[in-house]
Each structure stands twice: as structure tokens, then as C-alpha cells.
């Protein structure tokens, strides 16, 4: 259940940025999470209320932009979308690939007051 650690990490960033900006609470938090980031979205939703309790995020709306995985085949250069790390190149079936997108795990923006 590392999603709890992740949620607490998000809280830490939100608290620090909110205070730096002289604001008191967050109305909306925008996250970017890739499908290959190792985050179970349901688990994150499950731990979220617990993690944000008594923090600037308590009443914040959480908007998650899910980023589709994308890789470049190292053998035939095809750029393709992937759901899992073990998806192979749709053109040449090679497993040699460089992940281009999908590992993001970022706090993108905060709307504070």
C-alpha cells in the first residue's frame, strides 16, 4: 500500500507550496499520473480522505490527468502506446523499448485561496 506514502508526499508538497504562497487552503489540486507509474488509482482514492484530513487539501477537489503509456521500439523505431511494461512492439514484436510517457507522478498545479 505505497499509495499512502504517495498521498502523504502529495500532501507535503501541497502544504509547503500553499504556505509559501501565503494561502490557507487548496480548492483544487491537479495531478498527473502515468499508467506505468506504479499507482493503483483505486488505492489512491481509498487512502486520499485519510491522507488529506486536517491538511490544506482536506476540502480540495482532486483532478487526475491519467497519462497513457508510450514507448519507442528500439529495433524498428515504432512509437506505440502500451498498457503494461510487458507489451511488445505491435509491428516487430520486439521487447526492447524505451518508455517515453506513462511514468509521470507529479503535482501539476494547485488552486489556492
Amino acid at each position: 500500500m505505497h499509495e499512502l506514502s504517495i498521498a502523504m508526499g502529495i500532501v507535503k508538497i501541497a502544504e509547503s507550496e500553499t504556505h509559501k504562497a501565503g494561502a490557507s487552503k487548496v480548492e483544487c489540486i491537479e495531478l498527473e499520473i502515468g499508467k506505468l507509474a506504479g499507482i493503483e488509482f483505486e488505492s489512491l482514492d481509498f487512502v486520499w480522505p485519510l491522507a488529506v484530513k486536517n491538511t490544506v487539501l482536506e476540502q480540495a477537489e482532486k483532478r487526475v490527468e491519467v497519462i497513457q503509456g508510450q514507448a519507442r521500439c528500439m529495433d524498428c523505431d515504432t512509437v506505440f502506446e502500451l498498457e503494461k511494461f510487458y507489451d511488445s512492439c505491435p509491428v516487430c514484436r520486439s521487447n526492447l523499448k524505451a518508455i517515453l510517457k506513462g511514468k509521470e507522478l507529479r503535482v501539476k498545479a494547485l488552486e489556492v485561496i
Partner: protein, 307 residues
């Protein structure tokens, strides 16, 4: 609740222990973590706020002071973007990696290891794959040739540290409490107590868990995932994150192959599907079969610096 490790309270918190130590009477060297779950006083944070008055002056020049955050004041509603904000609302473009703290501390560890020419290895696997037995065997066979240090990660007990300590190898135990993985700041604290000499190998045995440790860089040079022949061949597909982030895959308990339904070729195929760069070793930590190749690899990695 601790933000970094998810530990619930002092009792469930992270402890760094020496072998033979009682679990009671521990020192909790984890002060830098904030225990939000307890009685976190909100007013406190507002006080803190006022000490950062300099931030106001940054609002218009997109302050780069402490982080990558750029704050734009939206004092007027603007129609072009379709965003209408109340006068006191602000959008902070934070653009910050959630794991940034862990990565910064991992980089700090890495710099320290490089300066001392230490090879740090992060050993990960599910519980019971034989991480500690593999480690014991390796230390027994190589400790006269190479210098080793060990960090043991478990939720509870100093049992593993005691096993390593019995071999006269310097070892520190990290108990993560309720935490399911090691993080780089725990390793940082443990390493401070190890007082390592140069040109050595640091074995970091992570908490037995094929999921969570995959996300946390400890500052290791190589990540070593261990799978045993008593597990399912499809583990690399079931737990792709771990196999994707590893460099080495050790297949342990090969002495049991005649008795179990485990196809080594298949597990390798699955693992390569997830990570085509994996390097394999097939070993039995019990009989010593195949260990020589692993030892050769270790020796190649740690070339002593010649004056």
C-alpha cells in the same frame, strides 16, 4: 501518519537498530518526518506562513526561490482561458514530482557511495525467496576477498541483522514498522551509523515485497530482484514494475527444480518481456550451485581504486 513511510505512530515508526538490540528501548531516528496523523496543529502552519513573507515579492516575477513553483496571481477573471477565479484565488503551477524528496535523498546517498567507491545493491523480492540466505552464502564465501556492509530492511525484528552479524559483517537493521518498503532517507540514516570504509559492497536487503519498493530509489547502483523456483513463473508479468526497474534477476533455489513445476526458460522469457536488459543468474544459495557466476559479476563491479 508519517508522510514518507506511512507509519502510523511512534510505535509503528521507523527504527534503526544494531544487531542484538532489544526492540524495546530503541532510538527513533526519524525526526524529520512529520506525523500528520497525530495532533497536527493547523494553526502552526499558518504561523509558518508569515515567516515566508518574501514570497509576496515573488508573485510577479515567477519566483524561483525554493522550488520550481511558479505562482500566477489571477486577480481578474479572464475570458480567454475560460477560467473565472474569485479575487483571492491563485493558481500555483507546482510541477513537482511527488517522489522528489526520495529522489533527492537517493542522489545524496549515491554521491556518498561514489566518493567512497562503494557498490550499493538493492535486493528486492517477495518474502521467502531466499534473500537473506543468498546474502549469507555470498558473505560467507566472499568476505575474505571483498569488504561488505549490510543494511537489513524488515517491518519488525532484528533477526536478519543477527544472522548477518554472526558472520562478522557490519550490519544495521531498519525496522519500517508499518512501512512496506525502504526509502532513501532511512538508508541515509542507517549509512551514517555504518561508517563504511572505501572500496566495499553495500548490500541493502529491502522489505520482502514485490510491489512498493519498486518506486523508491535508495541510491543503489544496481537493483537485484530475486525470484525462487517455488514461486510462479509469471511473477514478472504480475509484478512488472519491480522487474522493469531491476538490473539483475537472480533465480534462486535451483536445487529444488526436480521437485517443482517451474520452467526457468519461461520465467526468463516473461522477465525479458518486461525488461529486455535484465541479466540473469541461476543459483542455489543452499548448495552453492551457480553462485560462482554471481561472485564473478560482483568482483567485476568493484574494481578497487589504485593510487
Amino acid at each position: 501518519m508519517c508522510g514518507t513511510c506511512g507509519c502510523g505512530s511512534e510505535e509503528g515508526g521507523v527504527r534503526i537498530l544494531m544487531p542484538g538490540m532489544q526492540q524495546e528501548g530503541h532510538t527513533h531516528s526519524h525526526e524529520h518526518h512529520h506525523h500528520h496523523g497525530n495532533s497536527h496543529d493547523h494553526d502552526h502552519s499558518h504561523d509558518h506562513d508569515h515567516s515566508h513573507t518574501h514570497n509576496h515579492s515573488h508573485d510577479h516575477d515567477h519566483g524561483h526561490a525554493h522550488s520550481h513553483a511558479h505562482s500566477h496571481e489571477h486577480k481578474h477573471s479572464h475570458d480567454d482561458g475560460g477560467i473565472t477565479l474569485a479575487p483571492n484565488k491563485k493558481i500555483l503551477e507546482v510541477e513537482q514530482d511527488v517522489l522528489q524528496h526520495n529522489q533527492v535523498m537517493a542522489a545524496r546517498n549515491r554521491g556518498y557511495f561514489e566518493a567512497l567507491n562503494i557498490l550499493p545493491l538493492n535486493l528486492v523480492s517477495s518474502p521467502g525467496s531466499g534473500k537473506t540466505s543468498l546474502l549469507e552464502r555470498t558473505l560467507k564465501d566472499l568476505k575474505d576477498t571483498l569488504d561488505f556492509y549490510v543494511i537489513e530492511g524488515d517491518q519488525q525484528t532484528v533477526n536478519d541483522a543477527n544472522r548477518i552479524s554472526a558472520l562478522d559483517v557490519p550490519v544495521i537493521q531498519i525496522n519500517t514498522g508499518k512501512g512496506c518498503h525502504l526509502e532513501s532517507d532511512m538508508v541515509f540514516e542507517a549509512v551514517k551509523q555504518l561508517q563504511m570504509k572505501a572500496n566495499a559492497i553495500l548490500m541493502i536487503e529491502n522489505v520482502g515485497n514485490l510491489v512498493c519498493p519498486s518506486m523508491f530509489d535508495l541510491g543503489e547502483k544496481k537493483r537485484v530482484v530475486i525470484i525462487s523456483t517455488t514461486e510462479g513463473e509469471d511473477k514478472p508479468l504480475k509484478y512488472p514494475d519491480m522487474f522493469h526497474s531491476s538490473d539483475i534477476c537472480i533465480i534462486n533455489k535451483t536445487d529444488l527444480l526436480p521437485y517443482v513445476n517451474f520452467d526457468v526458460g519461461k520465467v526468463k522469457d516473461y522477465a525479458l518481456q518486461v525488461n529486455a536488459n535484465l541479466k540473469f543468474f541461476e543459483v542455489s544459495a543452499t548448495t552453492g550451485e551457480g553462485m560462482e557466476a554471481w561472485y564473478e559479476w560482483l568482483k567485476e563491479q568493484i574494481v578497487p581504486k589504485k593510487a
